[in-house]
């Protein structure tokens, strides 16, 4: 009986342990807000944030902003990550490609994306393209570097073996090089997803008429701290969600890897 309880208790403990500290922090926050330690102008109570959330949800406003932000992050990441993957494959697979492209990519990589904002606003105004450009620019390089590195670090012995078994061209790439580079590429994807949200926040706060960043900036104008905090929490949630998605990809695509068994 006692052992049955303890075998059940272990997973419950392991599942709940990571959430103990956040839960305590929220409780402390609620207590401080209701007892006047924190004024609502500095930090509204968690319940007030929840109320703001449900109010905006019911009016449909929240869903609209969430949708547009998620769409921007996804499209921007798709474009940037796609270009990064392609460039990484080219420079990783061919010496000539590396000679021709790598220096250029490394130079552009060292430009902080946020330094481009003035130029981006001049080019695109506060159009959708501005946000997509910034997200794509920021996500290109993590994917590029990790793809390039992943392909270069594929086990040479495996490639030699595959060649001696007659694999050339596309089959060699599909069966040996790409799977060998995949762990590294997925690390790049996770980096890039984190980066996508950071850039999107900045882009939406500076120049947007929709999206979560706009929601926060608009609320600031009307001193709605509850909505500002809600927006910040939504970003955290979306970042966590996309990281979770990337980890699920790892679990499916890297299921052969001892680390995922």
């Amino acid at each position: 009986m006692a052992s049955a309880i303890s075998t059940l208790a272990v997973p419950v403990w392991r599942r709940s342990a990571p959430w103990i500290v956040p839960a305590l922090l929220v409780l402390l926050w609620q207590w401080a807000a209701t007892h006047g330690v924190l004024t609502s102008r500095i930090l509204p109570a968690p319940l007030a944030v929840l109320e703001a959330g449900s109010r905006l949800w019911q009016s449909g406003e929240l869903w609209a902003h969430l949708k547009i932000s998620f769409w921007r992050a996804a499209i921007g990441f798709g474009i940037g990550g796609g270009i990064g993957l392609l460039l990484g494959l080219i420079t990783g697979m061919s010496r000539r490609g590396e000679l021709l492209l790598d220096t250029t990519v490394q130079m552009i990589r060292n430009v902080p994306p946020l330094a481009l904002i003035p130029l981006v606003i001049l080019w695109f105004g506060i159009d959708e393209a501005a946000k997509l450009f910034l997200v794509a620019f920021g996500t290109l390089f993590p994917v590029y570097i990790n793809t390039y590195h992943g392909i270069r670090s594929v086990d040479k012995d495996l490639v030699e073996m595959a060649r001696s078994y007659g694999l050339r061209g596309w089959p060699l790439f599909r069966d040996v090089i790409l799977p060998g580079a995949l762990p590294s590429i997925l690390v790049g994807v996770r980096f890039a997803l984190g980066f996508a949200w950071i850039l999107l926040i900045v882009a939406e706060t500076i120049s947007a008429s929709s999206g979560i960043g706009y929601l926060a900036m608009n609320a600031r104008e009307f001193l709605q701290t509850d909505v500002v905090v809600l927006a910040i929490l939504l970003y955290a949630l979306l970042g966590k969600l996309s990281d979770y998605g990337a980890r699920q990809l790892e679990r499916v695509w890297l299921r052969w890897h001892p680390a995922y068994q």
Binding site: L158, S164, D175, H257
Partner: protein
């Protein structure tokens, strides 16, 4: 258990003439002449760096010769009229493919049934759907052997394939290789640093010294060979004494005798 659906394939005869290989100004193989009969099991021994692995890689086509050529049944190697398979010291299985997919590497069409049959031949039928990382070192080498056998090779090149295995697994693998060779009758070139293994398996033991054939010794013992027998021991002794007669190229220099005075400082 040992039933086979793989048709026996006759071996190929090899003729090596004036074969040399240089890396920069270092000569690894010097004007090697060698004849290997079809279906013969030749064991190649020698010290590290004597050129025995290079010889194998030349025949496998992984390196190109500086001079001379290798002919198989009279025609040059690169015409590709016959099938050569190489087994490496490490199994070199693709970790992202199942055991069965690894065996079927490079095959198209309906290869699955044949792959299962070959896996059964090496005694791994029930491991077909595992990942290579879930197998032991010996099992991985058996998968590599199955991957070579599915192509019904006429020439099997073994580059110290058992070097990394423990003693018991190694003897099991030796018996497996011998049995499969007796069934399929392909030509085998086995490179090993283990003289006992060479005498146990080879029709001939070939000693490579400094890029040349130093000793070409037929092994007239009946199979399967008993390691403790007098004839076996005599042959093993003969090869070993010849190997040991030459100074080791990679010998570690003797440490300088340490003066007592220096030791006191260290204490």
């Amino acid at each position: 258990m040992t039933q086979t659906t793989v048709t026996p394939s006759a071996g190929v005869a090899l003729t090596l003439r004036n074969l040399s290989k240089r890396f920069g100004d270092q000569t690894v193989l010097q004007a090697l002449d060698l004849d290997i009969r079809a279906g013969e099991f030749v064991a190649v021994v020698g010290r590290s760096g004597c050129g025995k692995s290079t010889l194998l890689r030349l025949i496998a086509g992984l390196e190109s010769a500086s001079t001379g050529d290798v002919r198989a049944d009279g025609s040059p190697l690169d015409t590709g009229h016959f099938d050569t398979r190489l087994m490496f010291q490490d199994a070199r299985l693709l970790p992202w493919k199942s055991v069965l997919q690894n065996v079927g590497l490079g095959l198209s069409g309906a290869w699955q049934d044949k792959a299962r049959a070959v896996l059964a031949e090496v005694g791994l039928a029930e491991h077909a759907h595992k990942w290579p990382s879930q197998l032991s070192g010996g099992q991985r080498q058996r998968v590599a052997l199955a991957r070579a056998l599915i192509h019904e090779p006429q020439l099997l090149l073994l580059d110290e394939p058992l070097g990394a295995l423990d003693a018991l697994t190694r003897i099991e693998m030796q018996q497996l290789i011998e049995r499969l060779w007796q069934q399929h009758r392909f030509t085998v070139l086995l490179v090993t640093h283990d003289v006992e293994e060479a005498v146990a398996l080879g029709d001939r033991v070939l000693l490579i010294e400094e890029g040349r054939v130093g000793l070409d010794l037929p092994v007239p013992l009946p199979r399967s060979r008993v390691r403790g027998s007098a004839g076996f021991a005599a042959l093993e002794e003969r090869v070993l004494s010849r190997v040991l007669a030459l100074p080791d190229r990679e010998a570690i220099p003797e440490p300088e005798p340490v003066a007592l005075g220096a030791l006191r400082w260290a204490l």
